[in-house]
């Protein structure tokens, strides 16, 4: 037993070490940006990990420029609307895929997978041309539409996996209890699919929030430019001023909503919500 305990402890230590390495590897760049955002312009390049002089000036700067606030508004608005639409459409499509047998089901799933795998870069130029002729270029819908397109396959896939886990008999039971198909969906299936819907919402929101490619290509002014794109347009007050500090501060600011979003919804992802439905 002692030997066994020893090897177990060794395995624990080994795993802890690996975990620490991975964590450090992932977190150092993030912490570096946080550190940069608190440094003064003079100490920006002093190669110290912990700032010697702390300042909130960078944060004050980004919130005094209209540019950043407007971009933040665009980002929140576009990501929330795109997430909402993608999740609603995805829920309906995933439900149909999980529950019904209809002609062309495999084709539909295949095509949606195809969209997910399509290199987005190759679509930027055609999209740019199309949106310009349609008058969608540099507008909110101009970004929301492609975001929905590329988020839907992800949403459909995640959600249909969740729907498949809900026992089919619950819906039959609801029907026997006198529910219409719509009532059965709303009062029985939807509440049980909620964890899946929230998970999907997080993934889709992060995808929209983080997108840089479409944001930089399909916008030209602050009227619809999202934060990741706006960051690249940050500049110092003069040619000789380095905007690193303000860019870092902005990067920290836009990471916060994601963290909040995940923390908020994570509490709703209650594992094993369907336990107790059937035998067990």
């Amino acid at each position: 037993m002692a030997v066994l305990g020893g090897t177990e402890r060794a395995a624990k230590v080994r795993w802890s070490l690996i975990n620490i390495v991975v964590l450090v590897y992932a977190l150092v760049p993030v912490l570096w940006i946080v550190s940069l955002s608190f440094k003064t312009k003079e100490t920006l390049t002093d190669k110290n990990f912990i700032p010697r002089e702390w300042t909130l000036q960078n944060y004050a700067d980004i919130f005094t420029t209209n540019q950043f606030l407007r971009a933040l508004l665009n980002s929140v608005g576009i990501a929330v609307i795109a997430t909402l639409i993608a999740v609603v459409l995805g829920t309906m499509a995933a439900y149909a895929i999980a529950r019904l047998d209809f002609p062309g089901k495999r084709l539909l799933v295949g095509v949606s997978l195809l969209i997910a795998m399509f290199p987005q870069v190759s679509l930027v130029t055609p999209l740019f041309e199309m949106e310009r002729s349609l008058g969608l270029f540099d507008t909110w819908p101009g970004l929301i539409l492609p975001y929905i397109t590329f988020a839907l396959p992800l949403a459909i896939y995640t959600l249909s996996a969740f729907f498949r886990e809900i026992p089919w008999e619950l819906e039959k039971a609801a029907k026997m209890d006198g529910a219409t198909p719509a009532q059965a969906f709303r009062r029985v299936i939807a509440p049980l699919a909620a964890p899946g819907v929230f998970t999907t919402a997080i993934l889709v929101f992060i995808f929209c929030w983080n997108d840089f490619l479409f944001a930089i290509s399909l916008t030209s002014t602050t009227s619809s430019r999202t934060v990741p794109a706006a960051l690249s347009f940050f500049q110092g007050s003069s040619q000789f001023e380095d905007p690193t500090g303000t860019v870092s501060a902005a990067a920290v600011v836009i990471t916060v909503p994601i963290i909040l979003f995940v923390l908020f919804f994570q509490r709703r992802i209650v594992a094993g919500l369907t336990s107790g439905a059937v035998k067990g």
């Binding site: 369907t274 107790g276 439905a277």
Partner: protein, 393 residues
């Protein structure tokens, strides 16, 4: 409360497979009827068609004289208990039971009263505010029953409601289901693959095989007068013993020796135009240890001698298993029954005979024993189509 009539009801799937074929059953108001058969016999499909969960592709289903083929489940006013219980996991026990009433827009006060009443009947009072996930199997089963009874539906449909419970609880729940049904007097259709459940619960039992109704009757009638080999083999536990036999000169030549035909059997066999080669069926309880009987009793029956392979004492009586040399009875029905019970190819080099002997018997395993049986209780079947040759009305 309602009378349910299945009039030549059939189910054919789009791929052409016929799951249920021309089922004719008239279920009287308040009757407890059991659909029983091996898996794939169409019993659950039949139940789902009554429920409205599956379309009826042929024939007519009438509830209280009205054709309901095209009605959605919610418009048939029927409650169903599922094998898996299908409780709504995000609702408390109270909400689960209230769900059908809330959908029917019953006022709150009535809902509360009915749920409390159902909870009292099913002894769920202290669990009303718990979620199904925190209940034991038996409690979940009762919640499923409660959800069905709160509505006072025209009929209950039950799809193997006890098969997920452990053996002891199953017997206990079986009694309470029977009591509950008598008390409420609601027409009930109950599906099971367990012949014991079928025998103990039902007013009438419908035995199904391959989508066809084999026989409908009271449990006792099915037991005493099975119309074919399948019903004979399916009903009864341990099941009936089958042996090949030849009818000749007023005698029955069997692997157990020559058995004289009684007048009753001879008359029935003649009326049924029995062929020469037949299958004889003997229930285990129609055997007895010859040592326990007096001369007069022995003379009224036939005896054979064989070695006891296995002896199982149940306390109240003893099951003795004998291996009888010679041919085994073969027919499509028997093969199917053997496949269902998993006993196919278990016996080689002869037929196994199960006998139920008195507990007073002193026969031991490995003994060569003389066993008596009552030749008037035997059944004869036609091996070609399985029909009984000894059916009396």
């Amino acid at each position: 409360m309602a009378e349910i009539v299945l009039d030549k009801v059939s189910k054919r799937y789009p791929d052409g497979a016929l799951a249920v074929s021309d089922v004719d059953i008239t279920i009287a108001d308040g009757e407890f009827i059991i659909l029983v058969g091996p898996s794939g016999c169409g019993k659950s499909t039949t139940l789902n068609m009554i429920a409205g969960l599956e379309d009826i592709t042929g024939g007519e289903l009438r509830i209280d004289g009205q054709r309901v083929n095209e009605r959605a489940p919610k418009d048939r006013d029927i409650a169903m208990v599922f094998q898996s219980y299908a409780l709504y996991p995000h609702m408390s026990v109270r909400e689960n039971m209230a769900f059908p009433l809330r959908l029917a827009h019953v006022d709150k006060e009535t809902i509360n009263r009915k749920v409390e009443e159902a909870a009292r009947i099913l002894d769920l009072g202290q669990h009303l505010d718990r979620k199904p996930g925190n209940l034991s199997g038996g409690q979940r089963q009762r919640v499923a029953m409660g959800r069905a009874i709160v509505r006072d539906p025209k009929a209950f449909l039950m799809d193997e409601p006890l098969s997920n419970l452990d053996a002891k609880l199953r017997v206990q729940m079986r009694t309470s289901v029977a009591k509950l049904q008598r008390k409420l007097g609601t027409t009930t259709v109950y599906v099971t693959h367990d012949q014991t459940e079928a025998m103990t619960l039902g007013d009438r039992v419908v035995v199904m095989r391959g989508g066809l109704v084999q026989q409908i009757g009271s449990p006792q009638a099915l037991y005493e007068q099975p119309v074919n080999l399948f019903v004979a083999g399916f009903i009864g536990s341990p099941s009936m013993n089958f042996l090949p036999a030849t009818l000749a000169d007023g005698q029955l030549r069997t692997p157990l020796g020559a058995v004289p035909l009684t007048d009753r059997i001879r008359r029935l066999a003649e009326a049924a135009k029995a062929p020469r080669e037949v299958i004889v069926g003997l229930r285990p309880e129609h055997f007895e240890d010859a040592a326990l009987l007096d001369e007069a009793e022995l003379g009224a029956g036939a005896t054979f001698t064989a070695t006891v392979e296995v002896m199982e004492s149940m306390g109240s009586d003893k099951f003795a298993y004998f291996l009888v040399e010679g041919e085994t009875a073969t027919s499509a029905e028997l093969d199917e029954l053997a496949a269902e019970s998993g006993s196919a190819e278990m016996t080689d080099g002869g037929a196994q005979i199960v006998t139920r002997l008195s507990a007073a018997s002193s026969i031991k395993e490995g003994d060569e024993a003389e066993v008596w049986f009552d030749p008037d209780k035997l059944h004869l079947f036609d091996p070609s189509d399985g029909r009984t040759l000894t059916h009396s009305d």
